[in-house]
């Protein structure tokens, strides 16, 4: 029996690092369906969960996988699933259920190239808008993008922390290269890993209201068996959790669902800057494309361009305020992503005409070469 935190240096791929991050974060239930290139997450969870007293189940499809982790989360467990494009599509309806019922859970999407079956074994970043808007209706959630196996470990832990804190599903938007690439991953001492647990109710059971928000806009969450007799529904509901088929209840519920994210952006949004101090050209990227961006910045600097990199660790909610502020003092943005324009349009929107916004994209299947970014810099600046 190995411990939850395998302190030490490891040579593992990003999928395995996500799984180790999950175990270290306290994930004790995992339900999934095999799919390339995310299967290794499931395989590693199947092997590791027995070490820590958790449960693994391979469900009959991704719809069931997503349903199982929402159900399991209400027993008090931290829960996760992993998938890729086609499975991500199947999870969308129940992702909305998790948002609506404010159920903490983590979904790892190791992106491949689509649409449809696409290139199952090759990388892509084409699910970024689906991550934001893929389930029906209006909502907020959190999506993070790891750019290395080491980052997979940390971002999965962070995903659990944010999920528990804000009672919202958190997506870890990895990609095939990050997922399948093996690198050194350092797992620290357990005492140094900061973990957040969901708020639990403490007051009188007869006065308890399932969705009465606490100080940060998030309601305490009881588990099945705690004696609160909770009712949880995907119908529009009031603070008691009871279905309420009124316009007023809808307004109130949406204000809560959106507010708990939008009022805590400073805590949720994380970015990283590289050579941004005097930058006039800002490369925006996330996930594996950060590596393209880093190389492009160094080479552009050698060529005399004042280039910098803004790495989006949190992609959703989008760092609008930061992009707007940067836009007021730079010449332009170049978004580097393995799709033909998704996050780029968000950057363009926030640049708002104050600065130019260009895309260096790719139809998918490979990492973008820095030459392509340099060519765009030379062409536009």
């Amino acid at each position: 029996m190995r411990p939850a935190v395998l302190t030490g240096e490891h040579y593992i791929n990003g999928d395995v690092a996500c799984a180790e991050g999950a175990i270290a974060a306290g994930c004790r239930f995992f339900g999934a369906y095999p799919i390339t290139p995310a299967t290794e997450v499931a395989e590693h969870m199947a092997e590791r969960l027995p070490d820590v007293g958790g449960a693994f189940i391979q469900m009959e499809d991704e719809i069931a996988a997503m349903a199982s982790i929402i159900g399991a989360a209400w027993t008090g467990a931290k829960t996760m699933t992993s998938t890729s494009g086609p499975g991500f599509s199947l999870m969308m309806e129940n992702l909305g259920l998790a948002v609506c019922t404010e159920t903490p859970c983590v979904i790892i999407n190791v992106q491949r190239t689509g649409p449809s079956t696409g290139l199952p074994t090759m990388t892509g970043q084409g699910d970024m808008m689906q991550a934001r808007w893929g389930s029906h209706g209006d909502y907020e959630l959190i999506a993070l993008a790891p750019s290395s196996p080491q980052d997979c470990f940390y971002q999965t832990i962070r995903a659990f922390n944010l999920s528990e804190k804000y009672r919202v599903p958190v997506l870890v938007m990895a990609d095939e290269i990050v997922g399948h690439m093996s690198e050194k991953v350092v797992i620290p001492e357990p005492e140094t890993i900061h973990l957040i647990e969901r708020p639990k109710p403490t007051g009188r059971r007869d006065r308890f209201k399932l969705y009465q928000p606490g100080p940060n806009g998030v309601a305490p969450m009881p588990s099945i068996g705690d004696g609160y007799n909770i009712h949880v529904t995907g119908l529009t509901h009031d603070e008691r959790g009871y279905p309420a088929m009124t316009v007023e209840a809808q307004q109130e519920m949406m204000a809560r669902l959106k507010g708990k994210i939008r009022n805590n952006l400073d805590d949720i949004i994380e970015t990283e800057s590289y050579r941004m101090e005097d930058a006039e050209i800002v490369i925006v990227s996330y996930g594996i494309s950060v590596r393209t961006g880093l190389s492009a910045v160094d080479r552009a600097r050698e060529m005399g361009y004042k280039a910098g990199l803004l790495r989006l660790i949190t992609v959703w909610p989008f760092p609008e305020t930061m992009i707007r502020s940067i836009a007021s003092r730079v010449k332009g943005f170049i978004t580097v992503e393995i799709n033909l324009g998704q996050v780029h349009y968000e950057v363009e929107r926030c640049a708002g005409g104050q600065a130019a916004a260009y895309l260096v994209g790719d139809a998918g299947g490979k990492i973008i070469h820095p030459d392509k970014v340099l060519a765009r810099i030379e062409e536009k600046f």
Binding site: M59, A67, G71, N229, T233
Partner: protein, 282 residues
Amino acid sequence: MTTNPKKTAKKPEHPLDDLIRTDRIPHIWCSGCGIGTAFSSCLSAIKATGIAYNRFTMVSGIGCSARGAGYIKLDSFHTTHGRAIPFASGIKMANPDLKVIVFSGDGDLFAIGGNHFIHAARRNMDLTVICVNNLTYGMTGGQVAATTPSMAKSTTTPMGNPDAPFNLPLLAYASGATYVARWTILHTRDLTTAINEAIIRKGFSFIEVLSPCPVNYGRRNKEKPLETLRLYQERTIIKNGVNPAQADIDFDKGVVIGTFIDVDRSTCDDRYYATCHPCSDD
């Protein structure tokens, strides 16, 4: 001057009030609908087990029957259409001490949710699945279901259903369910006993409850509410242990009801925890 006696504030109590969210009554079910009767049997069965209420949870999908989860005063979950069983499976595997009941309809469990049903039965997931079968989609207004008899009329088969319906007990048995029973809402004592047995035993238990939908099925098929109940009384035959292959629903020939299957087989959680946690204390 005479005054009327003051009304007492205390409402009369119903024996199942401790299991009902009385603040959510009246319920949505139509006059003549059988879901309420099946629901009452379920509550009576829960109560009769004597097991602490906080060890129970009820999960439902979407539809008229699925609204039951909103009326029961237990930890209860009204999930997405067809997905009650995988949701319940997650609960069961994460906390095997819980008694997990799925209460939903035929459309939810056997059309959109059919895949989940067969796999949970195959695994012998320790769930009690109660399917209120009213032969139609009631909530959306009476469309054809996977259980609608051949040639029956529905809003989407106005000339008659060209397809054959599922034999639900046979499907459950073939998939691996270890307890399979069918009753009607006229057989409330037997139904209550069956649900009680299903809750107490371990394994995937399936109980089909035939239930009238006079508004959306009976009306289109020239079957008045009382006539449906008369069929339940006169055209059913109690045959415990009968081969589920003989459980097609054809009231002209007679419909078998009773406990068809009751066998022991290790459950999903037992096998998982025995295999993967062999050293754990519990």
